[in-house]
């Protein structure tokens, strides 16, 4: 097992599109074990209700005996689970209070350190998450699942090689859907799509089917992996599979919305995204709905969704969740408050200079602020792994064009379009148009 402690940092667990990162964080959270009781046996349309009942149970136990640290651990775990299920981030603050209660009666509680690591990952306090997970393993070395928490924090910090080693250890020691899906993600970041595909195959073949939500998540992530390569048809099947195992699963519905938007079927995309955001107003989906409204010409509706993104962000910040990366990209994408976009991008880059999405956000924000020359080195840094992410190449292409390097601009814009011509309803047409103007 290889573990590396990093110092100083923050960033995203980053699935390509920056705002999707938080959704991924929610998954990674719940998958970390940490004293959590088994997932509900039945596929419930209302997981939140089930988890709320669990919360009530452990609340009662803890109230009857405040020294019952196991009850506090279970309570924290249930709050984390509900926060992930409902998207209501105030549950993470409640979970932290339960972790604090656990420490109050048992200061060397390994489970509480594991839960703390999970919460720190959610808040994007990646360096602190590694310290907590290391401490937990020191107290109880049998917790293999903490390797994933450490790996997730390393991905956030941009320590991709270290994360790769940890995920590989995990797939060797305890092969599972969760382990292989993480490994697949790092392969994808490294631009190694063949191995990413192979790891996804392993992940899905290891799905026991016992946790419907985990199955749905894995199928959805695999579908998104295919979608990020522009394979609209190949993405449809795993999205359907996700909805078969977990009817109404919002992340799969959002994926179908993205496919509909890519096909130019804006009415269906709006209907699907609306359905999703009515149930869980996750900022990345609210923003995506706004984008579809925008390309469909419904600018007032788009503005309403963008305003909602910022309101939701206020709740994240109030609950201690760092959203600098997401807000920097969101503001820059929509030409909103570009000075604030740059300040947020600078902050996230200062915390996690190794993270390619931090470098990309800084490059994009500098470019939008008219500083293409300053943006260039960060755009190149964002491509240091040769990640096959269309938006990374698109940003770099526009930046090269603005600095007068038309050959590189053409090449990078063409790469973006070759990877995925539908990478963003708002940005992809700009890529096409710029390429045409450059004679590409």
């Amino acid at each position: 097992m290889t573990r590396t402690v990093a110092t100083g940092g923050l960033l995203v667990l980053g699935i390509g599109a920056a705002l999707l990162a938080l959704a991924l964080a929610f998954f990674l959270v719940a998958d970390d074990g940490g004293g959590r009781s088994p997932a509900p046996a039945a596929v419930s349309a209302d997981l939140v209700t089930t988890t709320s009942a669990e919360i009530a149970f452990w609340e009662e136990r803890l109230a009857a005996d405040p020294a019952d640290f196991t009850a506090a651990d279970r309570l924290a775990s249930a709050y984390i689970q509900r926060g992930r299920e409902s998207g209501d981030v105030s549950d993470f603050t409640r979970a932290q209070a339960a972790v604090n209660a656990s420490f109050a009666s048992f200061s060397d509680n390994p489970a509480a350190f594991g839960l703390l690591a999970t919460l720190q990952n959610v808040r994007h306090e990646f360096a602190a998450a590694i310290v907590s997970a290391e401490r937990s393993l020191e107290l109880d070395p049998t917790q293999d699942h903490l390797l994933s928490a450490i790996g997730d924090a390393q991905v956030g910090l941009g320590l991709y090689a270290e994360a790769f080693d940890n995920y590989t250890s995990l797939t060797d020691q305890a092969p599972s859907l969760a382990a292989f899906s993480r490994l697949a993600y790092v392969y994808e970041l490294r631009g190694d799509l063949a191995n990413a595909e192979g790891a996804w195959g392993n992940a899905l073949s290891l799905d026991s089917g016992s946790n419907a939500e985990a199955s749905a998540w894995a199928n959805t992530q695999y579908a998104t992996f295919r979608l990020n390569q522009g394979d609209l048809d190949d993405a449809a099947t795993p999205y359907d599979a996700a909805l078969d195992s977990f009817p109404g699963y919002i992340h799969a519905l959002a994926g179908q919305a993205r496919v509909a938007a890519a096909n130019g079927d804006y009415d269906s995309a709006i209907a699907l995204y609306t359905q999703v955001t009515e149930r869980q107003p996750l900022p990345e989906y609210v923003a995506a709905l706004g984008d579809v409204y925008a390309v469909a010409g419904q600018t007032a509706e788009a503005a309403e969704q963008y305003a909602l993104v910022e309101a939701i962000r206020q709740l994240y910040v109030a609950n201690g969740i760092n959203t600098d990366l997401q807000i920097a990209v969101f503001l820059a994408d929509h030409d909103l408050r570009l000075d604030e976009a740059l300040a947020s991008a600078e902050a996230v880059y200062a915390e996690t200079p190794g993270n390619i999405y931090a470098a990309d956000a800084l490059a994009w924000a500098l470019y939008k602020n008219g500083r293409a020359g300053d943006a260039l080195p960060y755009a190149e840094e964002a491509l240091r792994l040769a990640t096959q992410g269309a938006s990374l190449w698109y940003h770099s292409g526009l930046i090269h064009a603005a600095t007068g390097d038309e050959a590189s601009a053409r090449a990078h814009l063409q790469t973006a379009i070759d990877i995925n011509p539908h990478f963003s309803p708002l940005q992809a047409p700009i890529a096409e148009q710029t390429l045409a103007e450059l004679g590409g």
Binding site: I55, S86, R94, A98, E278, P281, L308, A311, A318, N319
Partner: protein
């Protein structure tokens, strides 16, 4: 109109506080300002009081930060970013009308016509610099003449659709199917019925 509010609304508020206290007394609250039932929730409350001369229905809904934020645009009629008392009043009356249209009260198997007699919309500071929204409405209908048989008046209310476009996913409030008839001299309200519903956001 405002005099109606003086006592019942205090009772209403006290009852809601009791509900919240019962549900969350044990929960570690994130901060003093956070909505106790979650940032996405819309919670509703209703209660019937039967008096010698009038049947009164108290109805309230309470929107947490996110639905309240979405509702703001509708309240802020002149789009100046502020909610004036007049705008809040207009909004509360609109909501009362919407509730009236969808609320039905049956007394001794006869439909009774409920009329709004008092309304109020209030914003409260919530989490993250956002507001929460609370709307109260009181409806009345005259108590029918004594029934032919000595049984109590049977009251049922149903809500065919919720007030406000964003409340549609909440179940209808549970209301007591029977409210004991009050003696003329002591108009004590019937026990409150509490309804909460979460997360019931629709935008």
């Amino acid at each position: 109109m405002t005099s109606i509010f003086s006592r019942p609304v205090v009772l209403l508020a006290a009852a809601l506080v009791a509900v919240i206290a019962a549900l969350f007394a044990l929960a570690p609250t994130p901060s003093a300002d956070a909505h106790p039932l979650g940032n996405f929730t819309i919670n509703r409350y209703s209660r019937i009081e039967a008096y010698s001369d009038v049947i009164r229905v108290h109805y309230a809904f309470d929107m947490a930060e996110i639905p309240a934020f979405q509702e703001r645009g509708d309240i802020d009629a002149n789009s100046d970013g502020d909610i004036s008392p007049a705008e809040a009043h207009t909004y509360a009356n609109e909501q009362a009308d919407a509730i009236t249209a969808n609320l039905s009260l049956t007394l001794d198997a006869q439909p009774a016509e409920l009329s709004p007699v008092a309304t109020r919309a209030q914003l409260f500071p919530g989490e993250g610099g956002l507001d929460t929204l609370r709307v109260d409405a009181v409806f009345e209908t005259p108590t029918p003449p004594p029934a032919r048989q000595p049984s109590p008046i049977a009251t049922t209310t149903t809500q065919t659709a919720s007030a406000g476009r964003r409340l549609s996913s909440c179940p209808s409030p549970a209301l007591p199917s029977r409210a004991p008839r009050q003696a003329k001299t002591s108009p004590a309200p019937s026990p409150p019925t509490r309804t909460t519903c979460s997360p019931a956001l629709s935008m």
